[in-house]
Each structure stands twice: as C-alpha cells, then as structure tokens.
C-alpha cells in the first residue's frame, strides 16, 4: 500500500497527499505490529513471518515518512516497555493466586496443620518442637520461617551496611579531596559490580570454614550470610547517600562555615540533617537490595525450612525467600511452584514498595532543598 506513494520529498507531492501518506504509513506500521503481537500470543509459529512483514513495512515507512514513523516507533517502544512491566507484575500475581487461595494467609501469618491453625507457632519455635513448616509431600506449606530468615539476614546486613555506608557517603561527599573522590567513587561502583555469585563462592569456600573454626559453628550461618549481603548492599547505600549529601546546596554549608563552624560541625548540624531523608532513602534502598539478594545467600546457607532455634540464633541457617526459590524451583511439584510464586510476589511487592518509598522521600527532599535555595 505504502509503496504507491511517491518517495520524493516536498514539491512533487501536495501537502494534503503527504498528510494522507504519513497517516497511511503510520497506520500500516501500527497494524502489522499489532498483528505480530497478536500472532505471537495466539499462534507463536506464525510470529516470525509477521515480524518480517512488520520490518518490511517499517523500512518502507522509514524511507518515505521518517519523522512520523520514528515517532510511532518510539511510542511503540514506550508502550512495549510499559506493557512488559505491567505484564510481569500481572503474571506474577496471577500465578501466585492459586496457592494463595488454597493456603490463605496461613502461608504468611499463621501456619496451618491438618486444617487447624497453629496459633502458638511462635511458642513452638522458642520451645523445641518437631512440627514441620515445609513438607511438600504432606502438603504442609508455610513461608514464615523463610520470612524470618530474610528478616534476620536483612537486619544483620543493615547493621553492616548502614553505619559503614553513612560514613562512606560522608567521606566521599564531604571529606575527600576532589582527586581522591575521583578515585574512590569509581571504586565503590566497581564494588557494586562484583557479581553476587563471586561473593557467594567466597562465602561457600572460605567464610564457612572460617566460622566453623572461629565460632564453633557446625556449618553455614545467618551471621556470615548477613555480613556478606551487607557488604553487597554497601555500595548502594554509599552512592545514594552520597548523592543526597551532595545535593544539599553549597550555600547552606557556606553559611555555617562563615559563622565560624568547623567542617565537622557543618556536616553534623547542616548537611546530615538536611540530607537526612535522602540518607534514609539510601538505607531503605540498600535494605531492598539485601532482601532481594539471592545467590550469595543460596551459596552460603544450605537450604533449610525450619525456624532458627532459638529465634535469635544467628549461628543457625535457613533458606530465605529468595534462596528458597532458587534452590527449590528445579525439583518442585506444581503446588510447590505455586507457593514459590507467593514468595516471589512477596519479594516483588516488598522491594518495589521500598524502592517507591525511597524515591518518594528523595523527591520530597529535592523539592524541599530547591525551595530553600
């Protein structure tokens, strides 16, 4: 259809023709694209020829009406991106629904056994007990031990990454000279780049042996996993915190220095309070990373599905939500997979929520700082 339109620019085609032609080109591209997507969803075997048709039409459109087609293509890219995000979210929730309907809140709050809610499960976990929380063969599912394990690991990680990260951010933003900053900032970024499996391998090969000799442990432990995850979350805390500290207007610090305050006083009384919400956003984001960390935890802690005994025993080991998915998915039955999806949705909701909260805090801070300028 589009081939019929003259390809020369300007004079030879009247402006009316041009508008018609561009509408036609855009319409053709959009139609073939829609057809491609529909075919992919319902008849995947035919998707490739449709894709080729789309590419052909787009190429013709690109030659004739580049501006319009380019605009359409960027719009399509946006829509596809948004659709991808929406679809992943939607699909996760739908997949988690069966298990959620079957087990109810029992998965997350109160475990059930033989149809009866175990209200005093937390007492069982303080006192020795042999009841199981996770046994796919008998249909006993509960994510509570894994949630607790995630909480413990995240807490240890936060205790490591929080203070170290705050000091690190202060160093880069306020103390270091320009030259040193040029050196340390990329260093922190590279620290963030070390793949988690490498941390996991170090933990598996070296740190587990270390904790066995030095802490009389019989194997893996929350402690090592938490510290390693904390180190991994450190770069996030440092760089986001540093951004927050750097965004405090120079004039605020200058005013303090002009009053005769020392640099530390300025930092303590001006920069940190002004950037406080940004720093807390950094810590939240870092904790989000810690919650979502999979491979290091999976490599360090052999999977278990029981509560730590007693609850605060940081030398015990247990699977977290993430490592449960990683280690169980391969051999899982269908009902187990459904439960794993509940774990996935939980992770998704919590971490995305933390990200959104931290973004909100950051935005609010930026707005406030701009207002004060």
């Amino acid at each position: 259809m589009t081939e019929d339109i003259p390809t020369t620019e300007g004079e030879s085609v009247s402006s009316e023709d041009r508008v018609d032609g561009s509408t036609l080109a855009v319409g053709a591209v959009a139609t073939t694209l829609m057809a491609t997507i529909l075919v992919f969803l319902f008849r995947p075997a035919l998707a490739l020829p449709m894709l080729l048709a789309f590419v052909f039409v787009t190429a013709v459109g690109w030659v004739t009406y580049q501006a319009e087609v380019a605009r359409l293509l960027t719009l399509v890219a946006t829509i596809l991106t948004v659709l991808t995000v929406a679809f992943i979210t939607f699909f996760l929730f739908v997949s988690a629904l069966p298990a959620f309907l079957e087990h109810g809140l029992g998965l997350l709050l109160i475990p059930e056994q033989n149809g009866a809610a175990r209200w005093f499960f937390w007492l069982e976990s303080v006192l020795p007990s042999d009841s199981t929380y996770w046994n796919p063969l008998s249909g006993a599912y509960s994510l509570i031990p894994m949630i607790w394990a995630t909480v413990v690991v995240t807490a240890i990680a936060g205790a490591v990454a929080g203070p170290l990260g705050l000091f690190g951010a202060l160093f880069i933003a306020e103390v270091a000279s320009d030259r040193l900053r040029e050196l340390i900032k990329p260093g922190v970024e590279i620290l963030a780049g070390i793949p988690s499996i490498v941390y996991g391998f170090i933990g598996f090969q070296v740190l587990n042996g270390f904790i066995q000799t030095n802490f009389l442990d019989d194997g893996a432990s929350f402690l090592i996993a938490g510290i390693v995850v904390g180190v991994m979350a450190l770069p996030t805390v440092v760089s986001v915190g540093e951004d927050a500290l750097s965004s405090v207007p120079q004039s605020m610090g200058d005013g303090s220095v002009a009053m005769g305050a020392t640099e530390w006083q300025t930092m303590k009384s001006i920069s940190i309070p002004a950037a406080f919400s940004g720093i807390s956003a950094a810590v939240i984001l870092g904790l989000g990373r810690a919650i979502g960390e999979t491979m290091a935890v999976a490599a360090i802690m052999a999977s278990g599905t029981q509560f730590a005994d007693p609850l605060f025993d940081i030398f015990d080991a247990n699977a977290t939500l993430t490592s449960l998915i990683a280690t169980q998915y391969g051999s899982a039955s269908e009902s187990t997979v459904d439960v794993l999806f509940v774990a996935g949705v939980m992770l998704f909701v919590i971490v995305a929520g933390m990200s959104i909260v931290s973004q909100y805090i950051e935005r609010r801070m930026q707005r406030k700082l701009k207002g004060q300028q």
């Binding site: 075997a45 020829p49 501006a67 960027t74 890219a77 946006t78 596809l80 995000v85 992943i88 997949s95 170290l164 000091f167 690190g168 160093f171 340390i184 990329p186 260093g187 590279i190 780049g193 070390i194 793949p195 988690s196 499996i197 996991g200 391998f201 090969q205 000799t213 030095n214 802490f215 009389l216 442990d217 019989d218 020392t262 640099e263 530390w264 006083q265 984001l285 990373r289 919650i291 979502g292 999979t294 491979m295 490599a299 007693p310 025993d313 940081i314 030398f315 993430t322 998915i325 990683a326 998915y329 391969g330 997979v337 996935g344 992770l347 998704f348 971490v351 995305a352 959104i356 973004q359």
Partner: protein, 884 residues
C-alpha cells in the same frame, strides 16, 4: 623564603610539643593495632603465634611501615610532595616508633600475639588517661567544652551495658539476674562519667576504662587463645581466636578517636579531628575490602585459569601493536612546564612506551634465538577429594604462525584509529591528467566487481552450466588484484621518481596519488577478495596465492611510504608542509594496517594459509589458552576449560542487549522528547526504578513460568537472553532518559530556530549529544547482567562440565513450514559463566573448587572490564564536556 612562609613554619612547628608528639604516637599505635586486629581476624597471623612466627610477622610489618614512611619522608624532604602538616608528620613518626617497639617486644619477650595485642590496648588506655588528666590540670593549652556531649554519653552507656552484662554473666552466670545488675551499673556509670566531667576527662576516662578492661581481659588470659564459650542454646559459640581480634578492633577504634580528640585540643576542633579520623579509617576499610576481594579471587583462580597458556612470539607482537598505539597516545599528553615535577611526570608518561618496547624486544629475541620463554609453575587441583599438584607453564614459543582473527582484529583497530586521526588531503599537490582519469575509473571498477559478486551470489559460480566463475570470475579477480597492487605501489613510485628539489616537496606534490593509492587500492582489493569465494576461485602465482601476496606487498609499500614521509618531515621546516606530511604518514599507516587486515581476511575466507618469509598466517592460531579455548574434557589428563560457558555468556549478553537497547532508547526518546512531562512520565519513571530494584530471582520466576512453556518447554538460551533483557531494560531506559535530559535546551532551540523539524533535531542534535551517556549506561548495565546468576539458574538449564558450546550462528536453518527460519541452538540449554560457578557449589564435594575459583576469576575480570571501560568512558566524556 618570604616572611609569611617563615611565620607559618614557626606556627606549625610551635604547635608540636611532647603532649602532641605523644598523642600522635598513640593515634599511630591505634592504627597499627586496628590493622593487626584485621590481620589476626582473618588468621594471617593466628592470635596464638609466638617466637619465630611472631618475630617474622612483625619484621614484615616493620619493613612495610618503614618503607612507606621512608618513601613519603624522602618525597617530603626533596620537596616533591611536601608534607607540611605536623599531625601527618607526627603520625608517620609514631608509626615507625610503635612498630619498632612492638617488633622489639616480640623478638625479646616470650609473648604470644594475643598478649602483645592486649598490651597495645593497655598502653592506649594509659596514654589516653594521661592526656586527659594533663589537659584537666591545665598543663597544656586546650579548649575543652563543659561536657563531652549527650551523643558520646549514650554511646558509652551502650558499650557499658554490653560489657557490664557480659562481665556479670561470665562471673555469676546468666542464670541469676546478676548480669542484668552488672549491665545496668556499668552502663549508667559510663554514661555519667562521659557527660558529667569537663570534656577532656569525659571523653578520655570512659575510653580508658573500656579499652583498659578489654586489654586486661586479654593480657590476663581471661579470654585467651584457647578460650571457648559454647552455649547450648546456640548452634555456634565464641573462641578466643575470634573474640580477641574483635576486642582489638573496637578498642583501637575507640582509643584512636579519643586520642585524636586530645591531639586537637578537644572542643570543636577536637571533635572534628576525631570524627574525621574515624571517617577516614572507614573509607580505608572499604577500599581495603574491595581490593582484598579482587586480589583474593585472583590469587585463588589465576593458577588454574592460565594453565597451559602459550602464545607464539609473532602473535604476541601483533597483539602488542594496539598497546603500542595506546602507549604512544599516553606519552604524547603534555607534561606541563619544564621543572623537576614536570620531568618526573614526563618519565611516568614515557614509562608505558618503554615497557611496550621492552616486551617487544623480548618477543623478537625469542623469534631470533628460537628458544622459548617459559614460566613454569605448579598449582593444586582436587581430584577425587585429593589434592593433586599439576605442573604447567606459561610460554612464549618461537612460533611464527599468526591466527587470522588475531591478525584481523588489531589490524582493523589500527586502521580505524589512524583513519579517524586522518584529516584530509584534498586540493594538495598537483594531479596529472592520467591520475585524474584513473581516479574516475576506480569506482567504476569496484562497481563492476560488486555487480559480479551479486551475480555469482544469486546464480552460483556456474550459472546455466556455464563455468563463468572459473573464467570470468578468475579474470576479474586477477585484474582487480593487479590493479589494486599497482594503485597501492603508485604513491611510492611517484614520490621516488618525482623531480622535486627535496623529498618533502616530492611527497607534497604527489599527494593525490596517496589518497588514490590507499583508498582505491583497499577498495579494489577488498572487492576482488570477496569475489574469490563467491566465484569459487583462488588465483595463484607460483606457490603462493595472488591476493594475499599483493596485499602483503601493498602493506609493505604503504609502510615504506609512511617511513619516507616521516623522514621527509624531519628535514622540513615549514609548518604547513609538516602538517601535510603528517597526514600522509597517517594515510600510509592506514594502508599498512588495512592491507594487513586483508591478508588475514583472505586466509579466513579461503581457509588456505599464507606463508611468506617464514611467517605464516593461518586459521590455526599459535595462541593456546586451554581454560578459555577448550571445553571440558571428560576423563582427560588435562583439566580442560570453560569455553562453552564463555560463549554462552557472550550470546546471553548479545541477546539481552539486542532486546533491551532499542526498546529502552526508543522509550527514552519518546518520554523525553515527545511526551508531555507530567503524571504519565513520572509514573513510568517510578515503575522503571521499581523494576530496576526488583530481585533478579523474580525475573527468573517469570521467565521459567511464562517464557519457557512458550519457547518449546525446555530451559533455553533464548529464555535466558529475554530474562536478562527484561532486567537490562529499566537501566537502559533510566540512563538514556537522564542523558537525553542533560542535553541543554539551547541545542534544541538553536536547531528549531534554523527551521529544522523536530525529528531532524532529535536525530542530528539531541541523540549525538546524548550518545556518550547512553553508551556508558549500556556498558555498565551489561556489566551487571553479565554476572547475574539467579534468573539463569531457573531458565538456562546450565550443567557443570559442558563439553560443547552452543553454535548460534550455525544453528540457523530454513524450514518449509511457517516460521520459515528456525534456530535450534537458541532453544537448547547452554552453559554460562555465573551458572558454572553455581554448578560447582551445587555439586558439593564432587565439584572442583579450583575450577570454581578460576571461573569466578574470569567472570570477575569480564565484569570488572565492563565496569572499568564504562567508568573510564564516562569520566572521559564528562571531562570533554566540561573543558570545551
């Protein structure tokens, strides 16, 4: 020296009395103690070490400290890096004093490491107490506040709670409530002691009590080397080996802070010094941690990763050429004015060049003497849970074979680099009529050859039974090659036969021949080369193939041309002539590199190796790197390598990039340039940020449950690519948006003012300006997904010890049914670097830890290379933007 300087000097040196010197030494001792705490924590020196071991350890420490302080002192003395701060000087001196004292103690007294560490804490406690009391008695000039402040009071209170509780529990047992009494008493006591007295006592005495108590516990052996506490309720316990270093880390940090406060005279300055010391120590700790991780993995993995690496000397030389280029570029950067420092800088600039030269000379000597360079070493692997030593060597052999890929890649790189630095030679020199007609004929000839290529491609080498390929194709290849050779040699002949007064004049006069010879020759020869396999011919002259022989000769001629012009340049004075000659030299180098690449291309295309003067170019390279270039060999004597995993990771990265980059950049353009900034764009931004921080395992879950059933039902490479693409998409979108936003609006306004349409503005103004940022973001994102493991476990189906790599290119085939193109390789499971490491872990005792370390090492290097390139590019572009 001016008066001002003299005053400053007097002030600075007047600042340093015995009180200051003593506290500098105390700070230094704390730093040494902190480092020793780290060393003992990781068991580099066990806390129970004594006698010879201990002396050796401290000897090493002494050497390190004396070397570091000595070098700094020397630099300061010669005024290269003047250290004027009395505090830094004092700490340097203190470092030497304290390490000497510790070494002497370790060598003379029969003590263990633990006792020595406890003594350090006791000395610190004493030093801090003395300093505090001296200040309180107003013997020195300090400016303490009325109180140390609530913050430090609370901190000391917390420490007191913990220590009192532990002490009470240890003395009376945790059964009784005595531990609680002890905790509260110590906590409240320290809290009051910190806030009630004047600052000089309030910030020293609690420190002294805490540090002293820790030190006493260690020295008296209450918590000694063999100490253990293994409570029944916990599944772990505590040993002296872990507790003593932790005590030391806490104690020295506290005493360093306190001593620093004393040193700066308390008050606002004291607090600043104390806080800065802690912040700096923390930064140092972070850097040390990063360096330790990288170095540790390297040490563990490097032996296995490089086993059996051997490379022909000539290949090594070829690979060295890009390094030579980089070193030359580095050496050319200006070093500043002509004083001593500039001289030193000049030296550092030239150093890489010298290193490349030395390496090249070594390789040449291997070639000349014919005896290989070998670096033999031994490493251990676990075979059936037994350590087994393997002998291997890294070698440079006198092999003169060069692999085609290893020739083409550097040659192309060089050609492109030289071409980019080449400006223009238009309207230079005088063009004879004959040259003009040849210039017009060359495009026609190239076009004719291209038409022939198309013909043979469509119809095959023997259309309609006529042996056109053997006849017409053969003739065309020979004619084109000979013509290309003639063109390539023409500038050299032209310059040599020209009758200019000097060499420089002739070179300048014959400039038109240069462009014609190099570009025309390259184009013609390339088309003739491509025509060969299409027409199924390979003309030969004597024993060698025609095309590579001509290309080789042309490369030599171009090199001679570059040399000639360089010589001419040295003898010419006029700036314009020198400029022109530089351009001609660059052109000659483009020719040399380009023709060399064509030699390699010919061998790669025909598969027939090319040998001249003992040097041969062939598809079989003389580079052998088993770890990277071999697959796992079951039951072999040699351990084999992880080539399938490397290939898998390469394809994963390519696939993810192809998916994510067009979508992400397109969406970024739309959201920033077309869409109205408002609710929608803000929503998309929040959503993408949230997606970016979503745990990777969730993506894996999605891939496993949604993609795999729709992609044939098996774990596959394609699913892995798509899942990684989903992960990469948000980052590409975020960074692209940021860099498009960063393009100043003035650019768009200026473009619009010229009447340029919106899309043209985006295409020619906005996107080029934003491109560096986009590329950097993509590189950093790729670095992250290259190391991503969790989703791949679920979707890739990786196995340990894969014996074959996926063949994606060879996997494409046409089928009769719809979709018409299929690729089985994309739908099969593949290995990848991160999942390979995971497979070693998952295999438990049957996995080979050495293989795991080596894989982790290579993975780390790959990822860090991406990050280093990305960060360097960003710094480069940012500087360029700021300076221009």
């Amino acid at each position: 020296m001016s008066d001002a300087y003299a005053t400053t000097d007097r002030l600075v040196s007047a600042d340093s009395n015995i009180y200051d010197r003593g506290l500098d030494t105390a700070i230094a001792l704390s730093v040494v103690g902190f480092a020793l705490g780290l060393v003992t924590l990781v068991n580099l020196v066990p806390p129970g070490a004594s006698g010879g071991t201990l002396t050796t350890a401290f000897g090493t420490l002494l050497a390190v400290v004396v070397g570091a302080v000595g070098m700094t002192g020397l630099a300061s003395y010669t005024n290269v890096v003047p250290v004027t701060s009395q505090r830094v000087r004092g700490i340097g001196l203190g470092l030497v004093v304290s390490t000497v004292a510790l070494t002497v103690l370790a060598a003379t007294l029969p003590v263990t490491m633990a006792t020595l560490l406890g003594t350090v804490l006791l000395v610190e406690a004493l030093a801090v107490t003395v300093a505090g009391v001296t200040s309180r008695l107003d013997l020195v000039d300090t400016e303490p506040n009325m109180s140390a402040g609530l913050l430090s009071g609370v901190a000391f209170g917390a420490i007191g709670l913990a220590m009192g509780g532990a002490a009470g529990g240890a003395l009376a047992g945790f059964g009784s409530l005595l531990w609680l009494v002890g905790a509260v008493a110590a906590g409240v006591g320290l809290f009051l002691l910190a806030i009630l007295p004047r600052e000089d006592l309030g910030s020293t005495l609690p420190t002294a009590i805490v540090v002293g108590a820790l030190g006493l516990t260690i020295v008296t052996g209450t918590i000694g080397v063999g100490w253990q506490w293994n409570p029944q309720t916990l599944s772990g316990g505590f040993t002296g080996g872990a507790v003593i270093p932790v005590f030391l880390l806490v104690g020295t940090l506290l005493s360093a802070w306190s001593a620093a406060k004393c040193r700066a005279g308390f008050g606002a300055r004291g607090r600043e010094y104390g806080a800065f010391l802690v912040i700096n120590l923390n930064a140092f700790l972070m850097v040390a941690m990063m360096a330790t991780i990288v170095v540790f993995v390297t040490i563990k993995g490097v032996g296995y990763a490089f086993h059996g690496l051997s490379v022909g000397a000539l290949t090594a030389l070829v690979l060295l050429t890009p390094a030579l280029l980089a070193a030359v570029q580095f050496a050319r950067t200006p070093a500043g004015a002509n004083d001593w420092n500039a001289g030193a800088r000049q030296l550092f600039r030239v150093l890489p060049l010298a290193a490349v030269g030395a390496l090249a000379a070594t390789f040449v000597s291997v070639l000349v003497t014919g005896s290989p360079l070998r670096y033999p070493y031994t490493y251990t692997v676990q075979v059936n849970r037994q350590g087994q030593a393997l002998d291997t060597a890294i070698a440079v052999t006198p092999d003169t074979t060069v692999g085609t890929l290893l020739l083409i890649a550097p040659a192309l790189l060089l050609a492109v680099t030289f071409f980019r630095s080449f400006g223009s030679l238009r309207k230079v020199g005088t063009e004879s009529e004959r040259t003009g007609s040849v210039r017009q004929a060359v495009p026609t000839a190239v076009l004719a050859l291209v038409v022939l290529i198309g013909l043979f491609l469509v119809l095959g080498p023997a259309p309609f039974g006529l042996p056109l390929g053997g006849t017409l194709g053969f003739a065309a290849v020979v004619a084109g090659t000979v013509a290309a050779g003639g063109l390539a040699v023409s500038p050299l002949v032209g310059v040599l036969t020209s009758d200019g007064p000097t060499l420089a004049d002739s070179a300048q006069r014959e400039a038109p021949l240069f462009t014609l010879g190099v570009f025309g020759g390259l184009g013609l020869l390339l088309t003739a080369l491509v025509l060969q396999p299409v027409a199924g011919v390979n003309p030969q002259v004597g024993p060698v193939d025609l095309v590579p022989a001509v290309a080789f000769a042309a490369a030599l001629a171009s090199l001679a041309l570059a040399t000639l012009t360089t010589i001419a340049k040295r003898s010419s004075e006029a700036t314009i002539t020198r400029r022109l000659l530089t351009e001609e030299t660059r052109l000659g180098l483009v020719g040399a590199a380009g023709f060399t690449a064509l030699v390699g291309l010919h061998v790669a295309a025909t598969g027939v190796s090319f040998t001249v003067l003992g040097v041969s170019v062939s598809n079989a390279s003389s580079l052998s790197w088993p770890m990277v270039m071999q697959a796992y060999i079951p039951l072999g004597a040699e351990p084999g390598g992880i080539m399938p995993a490397i290939i898998g990771t390469v394809w994963l990265v390519i696939g993810a990039t192809l998916f994510a980059v067009p979508l992400g950049v397109g969406a970024a353009v739309f959201l920033t340039e077309y869409a109205e900034q408002g609710q929608f764009t803000a929503l998309v931004e929040i959503a993408t940020n949230a997606l970016w921080s979503t745990p990777s395992i969730v993506f894996g879950l999605f891939g496993a449950a949604f993609l795999i059933p729709r992609l044939g039902g098996d774990e596959s490479l394609l699913a892995g690519m798509l899942v990684l693409g989903f992960m990469l998409l948000p980052l590409v979108l975020i960074t692209s948006r940021e860099s498009i936003k960063a393009v100043p609006d003035e650019y768009r306004d200026a473009s619009a003012a010229l009447g340029v349409t919106r899309w043209e503005t985006i295409k020619s103004v906005v996107l080029p300006a934003a491109m560096p940022g986009v590329i950097t973001g993509v590189i950093l994102g790729v670095g992250r997904i290259a190391g991503e493991t969790a989703p791949l476990i679920l979707v890739l189906g990786s196995t340990l010890n894969a014996t074959a790599a996926v063949d994606v290119i060879g996997g494409f085939r046409f089928v009769s049914g719809p979709p018409f193109i299929a690729n089985d390789a994309l739908l099969t499971a593949s290995a990848s670097l991160p999942t390979q490491v995971w497979a070693v872990i998952a295999a438990g005792v049957s996995g080979s830890p050495q293989m795991g370390w080596a894989t982790a090492f290579i993975l780390l290097m790959v990822v860090l290379t991406f990050y280093a390139v990305g960060i360097t590019a960003r710094t480069y572009f940012r500087r360029k933007l700021n300076y221009e």
